[in-house]
Subunit: 480 residues, 2 copies
Amino acid sequence: MNTKSHQFLYLQIADRLEKQILDEVLKAGDKLPSVRMVCREQGLSMSTVTQAYYELESRSLIETRPRSGYYVCLPPVKRLAVPQTSNPSATDGLLPPDDLVSQVYMDREDPANTLFSLGMPHDDFLPIARLNKGLIQAMRNLPASGTGYEPTQGNENLRREIAKWSFGWGADFTEKDLITTSGCMNAISYALLALTKPGDTIAIESPAYFGILQLAKSAGLQVLELPTNAITGIELDALKKALSTNKIKVCLFVSNFNNPCGSSMPDEHKRAAVKLLEHYHVPLIEDDIHGDLYFSNNRPTTCKTYDESGLVLYCNSVSKTLAPGYRVGWIAPGKFKDQVIKLKRYHAISSAPLTSEVVAIFLKNGRYENHLRKLRQTLYHNSMKYIGAIANYFPEGVRVSQPQGGYFLWLELDKSVDTAELYHQAMKHQISIAPGRMFTLQPQFDHCMRLSFGLPWTAQLEKDLQQLGKLVKAMQKSTI
Amino acid sequence: MNTKSHQFLYLQIADRLEKQILDEVLKAGDKLPSVRMVCREQGLSMSTVTQAYYELESRSLIETRPRSGYYVCLPPVKRLAVPQTSNPSATDGLLPPDDLVSQVYMDREDPANTLFSLGMPHDDFLPIARLNKGLIQAMRNLPASGTGYEPTQGNENLRREIAKWSFGWGADFTEKDLITTSGCMNAISYALLALTKPGDTIAIESPAYFGILQLAKSAGLQVLELPTNAITGIELDALKKALSTNKIKVCLFVSNFNNPCGSSMPDEHKRAAVKLLEHYHVPLIEDDIHGDLYFSNNRPTTCKTYDESGLVLYCNSVSKTLAPGYRVGWIAPGKFKDQVIKLKRYHAISSAPLTSEVVAIFLKNGRYENHLRKLRQTLYHNSMKYIGAIANYFPEGVRVSQPQGGYFLWLELDKSVDTAELYHQAMKHQISIAPGRMFTLQPQFDHCMRLSFGLPWTAQLEKDLQQLGKLVKAMQKSTI
């Protein structure tokens, strides 16, 4: 205890809690007792306890979670460095490692595998009984129980509820702005089909989601990966420079809780990026699939929030939040709406009314927000546990992203560690990871990997992370 | 009665029935009393009545329907000529009339419109209560009630049941051959994406389904329309000539109950076409969406039945038979399977497990076949009623296709009748038709139109056909 502690009661409380955190009595991700409870138990005033908690927040030891309370952050001594800003080459890239991606997908088929590789909510996190009730309600609501075609633009109830929902983060859609799709990648695929032809160049973050790389290459596009910061996302200077060459036909950013590197563009970056794109008349496909999975107090804005000219095509779905198998996604294509509706009609005629209606019901009666609140807590808690385990079990010097939402940690290991090789070694222990080379067309992330924290935390899971750390250590040593 | 009637009892019976048919006591599409019932009521032997019915069949007055009995054909005096074999130009085509198609789609939105324009089963024809039961069963069957992703290739139960089903018409799929899609157009779209790049040429029937024209043009393809016979489909000589130019990248045929012209390729044509395509190494996308809706005794074969080299990509769905809104279709892409799976993953990740499972349940327990039996009867009956009404209400000289299955009649009117103008005039009476120019990129079908007989037959419907005939007569007169 320092001398100040003798002066102020709140500092005494704060110091005692700090000690508990540093001693790992209170572990990263643990919930602190509520202010009310501490008052009652220790006979203290509300203001004293509140001030103590503020103090701990200012020391970056704890943080608030909306409507939930205070939680222990990762202890400062164990804070790991974040991955470095990427510096991809502007030259032509490799082909996507399709075989590796297919192999990783196949890992799903054995339920004994621990799937750190795939980013989706575990079944345990889904409100399945309520969804089933919703489905029965949807059968009753819909004309002909949802067996008929619906208008190509998609279920009107769903579009209205998404429009209402979008008010919360300033996109202010109307139902007319939205078109439903078969998940978020399907939305992105229509956007790409509407905006590009083979040979065009698309600018994206680096690292980037492998599905985007594969889709772009299969559409015959040139892919320009741009330098990306693990905290703030795409580097604006690099974006400006790329745009000034006039070769970019379209940009595609995952602006919030990026897959894989966890970055989120700050509001001012989003605003500035949109201004830049407007200046150069280049459309932006915005993939906001993790936007609702924020760990902080507020839903982040999107680039679409700042879009005045209709150049942003906003894409989202419930595949990472509610029900991947429902295949419900949407796009707000701005001024490209007519093209996207036509493409949807040509490629699929219409969406399935039933699952769209279930999602509309969930949004309308607040079940979606209730569910998300729990899911966000779980994911946040998991991310803390994972980071703690990595700090404990991985070699010194490992760099780890600090996502403020979503599903993914991005790890930068020692250059001597080949994560594609690590993947094969880990699979011998039935542990599936996503090697770094899946996320780029450049030779830059062979020592990186993506870990999903979308699995329930268990003793076995911790053992698997420990095993993974052991394998990394062995590989690292073997080349020194 | 002729002299023969005095000699043979069966001919007496046949002649009496013929008189009833010609007097329209028995109308086109009416069911005849069963052989058993006639025996019992008239004290005749089975063989006499059976022979009488054979005689009527040989006079083209009645026809058998599988497991259903004997039905009155359209009386010979009223048989209408079939549309002429098309003779499209081989030069570059027009753009698809997108605005007209969009307008026709919009006609769905007012339930007061009579939609002769759109080919889908009316809600009244769908087994909605059973489908809802199936959905509840699917929720129970599927892991996590179908809320999770499924493998990209699609629901295994469904693929197995389709494979079993395909035995009936000689395609003999295994579940490994099949990939589920979001309806049949979605299957066709993956096939086109897998096989073509912008600038390639696709050869199709003429007239052709407007959705195919739009999809092909939106993919940047050159479209070569080939001469097509209203009874036997694509003209093989024309196909051979086109293939010999080596410019065709892929063919796309609707081999059974073609949309719009109702043609079906005879078995020997299917076999010959496949051989030709093998010779020139040109893949065929086969759209068999109406194949299960046959009016005769047997399910027709497909081109896929004769495919030994894996060049045929077979596409189908339940959108015209069971539940358009379920968005359940499939493709058997032959040797292009890996490409199609990848494309599906890139564009949509996976299908929705729930509705796939319902269709699997329907196939497995025979509910699908039961349902189809009724639907086929209804459609056949409707087609007879429509043809009768056209014979009664349309001007002399109208040519009408003779589909042996599916949903559509193709009408060839006097050259003076502009069916796009007719569409606008008919819409003033809330009657929606599909003008001929929707089905070609050439200036050849402006006096043709497609009528769907997928609506329940009512007095109002007959009045609408009468009104349509009146409008045609007025237009025809006005230009003579």
